[in-house]
Symmetry: C2
Subunit: 344 residues, 2 copies
């Protein structure tokens, strides 16, 4: 950002006015072809590039959007980011990506910092901590200034803005039903971010499926906790004391851990115990065995969220026109479940 040439310098060098240069560079009809050519040539020669900052200041638009990601090591978010990024680039927007590390404070700080004219709008996923604390004032403040926000994946009804989410209850319902149809009777569920409402929904879907098919839920087969600590012990413990022939893991990592535990116990997957995971990421794909998993179309989610935001920024949708879009999921069969011959 040092030796960069400005419009002013070009004007001086060529003995024309600043506005002539500006217009010539913008290929305005007002300028003669001759002058235009001269100016454009000089600009190219000296690698002129307009200063984005000055432009943004002028237009009151930055053409950049702020992205909030709770945890970039999570496959789902990384994929979603790609989707957002793709759409943004296509439509000429840059993105500023910020990682909140599931921290409320970081989230607040970041949003404060960016909403100073740096970005035109947000695509955000609420952090676990924020969801637990139920403090959403930072969202309200920004929305009040008419800066649009699109929430993806994790949302909360108290934040009144556009949302793009997974149908968690239904997906969990279908995954559980799949296990039952493939012959599982004693299906356990593992959830490791109990604070998340979306995981509660998944448990709800699981319970709904059991009930629907006349199975009484067994408290001992439900492992809910807030982290991965001791998960191995708890699974071993459950396996020691209960009959289990199916496991539904509500996130990728616990699916992988369950697989490790079963392999270690020399339990045959899927012959003795089937596993279904949630979020069809690298761990599911490259596990031993590869896991049957609920694919959540993270990339699509990102695309839809970014599209919605940009449409709003460009006035195609009114600020107050709020919508929640639901992204369907699809079960991807791999080797951790028994083959089903009847589709349903």
């Amino acid at each position: 950002m040092n030796k960069r040439i400005t419009i002013k310098q070009i004007a001086k060098a060529l003995g024309v006015s600043i506005s002539t240069v500006s217009k010539a560079l913008n290929d305005s009809y007002e300028i003669s072809d001759e002058t235009k050519a001269k100016i454009q040539e000089y600009a190219k020669l000296h690698k002129y590039k307009p200063n984005t900052l000055a432009l943004s200041l002028q237009n009151k638009k930055t053409k950049t959007i702020g992205i909030l990601i709770p945890n970039i090591l999570n496959y789902y978010f990384a994929r979603a980011l790609r989707g957002i990024e793709k759409v943004a680039t296509e439509k000429g927007y840059s993105i500023i990506t910020c990682i909140t590390n599931e921290s409320y404070e970081k989230e607040v700080e970041t949003m404060e910092m960016l909403s100073n004219g740096t970005i035109d709008g947000f695509v955000a996923c609420v952090s676990v901590e924020t969801l637990k604390l139920k403090k959403f004032d930072h969202f309200h403040d920004i929305l009040e200034e008419e800066t649009p926000i699109v929430l993806y994946d994790r949302a909360h009804k108290d934040i009144k803005c556009d949302k793009v989410v997974t149908d968690n209850i239904k997906s969990a319902y279908k995954a559980t039903r799949f296990l039952m149809k493939s012959g599982c009777k004693d299906i356990a569920i593992i959830s490791t971010s109990e604070g998340l409402n979306i995981n509660k929904f998944r448990i709800k879907g699981y319970l709904k499926a059991l009930t629907k098919y006349g199975v009484t839920p067994n408290e001992n087969l439900i492992i809910k906790q807030d982290n991965e600590i001791n998960l191995i012990e708890r699974i071993n413990n459950m396996l020691d004391n209960n009959k289990v022939d199916g496991i539904f893991s509500v996130d990728e990592v616990s699916g992988a851990i369950a697989t490790q535990v079963l392999n270690k116990r020399n339990v045959k997957i899927p012959e003795e115990v089937s596993i279904i995971g949630f979020t069809n990421g690298l761990l599911s794909r490259y596990g031993s065995p590869p896991l049957t998993s609920v694919n959540r179309f993270a990339h699509t989610t990102g695309e839809v969220a970014a599209t919605r935001l940009i449409d709003k920024l460009e006035g195609k949708i009114k600020f107050d026109d709020i919508k929640t879009e639901i992204i369907k999921t699809k079960l991807v069969e791999r080797e951790s479940t028994k083959k089903l011959f009847i589709k349903f």
Copy 2:
């Protein structure tokens, strides 16, 4: 970015001049405590926030750095990003993260776009395609404008700037030696991004270790290709036609795939075949069995790179003072290799 209040409005509302407000807000000694109090109070009340754009335009500094990531689904890069982000935040910098998807064109576009005053400097990792094409003009151009760049992980000697890299030869040497010391005689190596010079270095380290310990490298045990297509077949093929008791995977995914293949063939890991992976990510940690792996300290790499860049931006280091920092690796033992009793 709508109803935001400006310094001008405050000035009018309070019947003082713009510069008085500016000074008061910056707590200047020139302004009486009384006026200051009045202005600051009003500002707080109306949630005044300075417009970052205007500030940057004024200061010719944006306090943001551009990050280039080839592939965010790669654990190493995701971790590195966290490291960069951490340091940047600590030092009051924002980051703009851009994903190049290993594409030359995307890389060029992105760097062009950002070097218009949007960012003060870059922390970048060169894409595979760029490395193959050996076209580095976009880097040269930016460096010529005295915009600092710090390259991390993948670098090239033709780009004259700061670098933070892994000692690939040595790490591969040590990993291979570890396999030999644990009793492996016929050690295969798998590399799936042949275009990458860093992978060539890893193969070099592997060969060096074999030679050093008197083992003649066997061409049939070296799988090099540019992607993951047919990798399963090739590994199976290799296993069918050769004696193999150790596998060194030069990246995470091929480590996971090798594990899948061995498990499928009911080969006992590590009793019959040992595996060592490179980059100690989720796949190594949560695999079945968990993989012994070369930990590359991606987080540290990111921290070091960001620190270097910011030091340069803040004039602590001269622009022309160029350095390559090498981040050491460490072998993390897990269950895919036999225990060693003699440390070396």
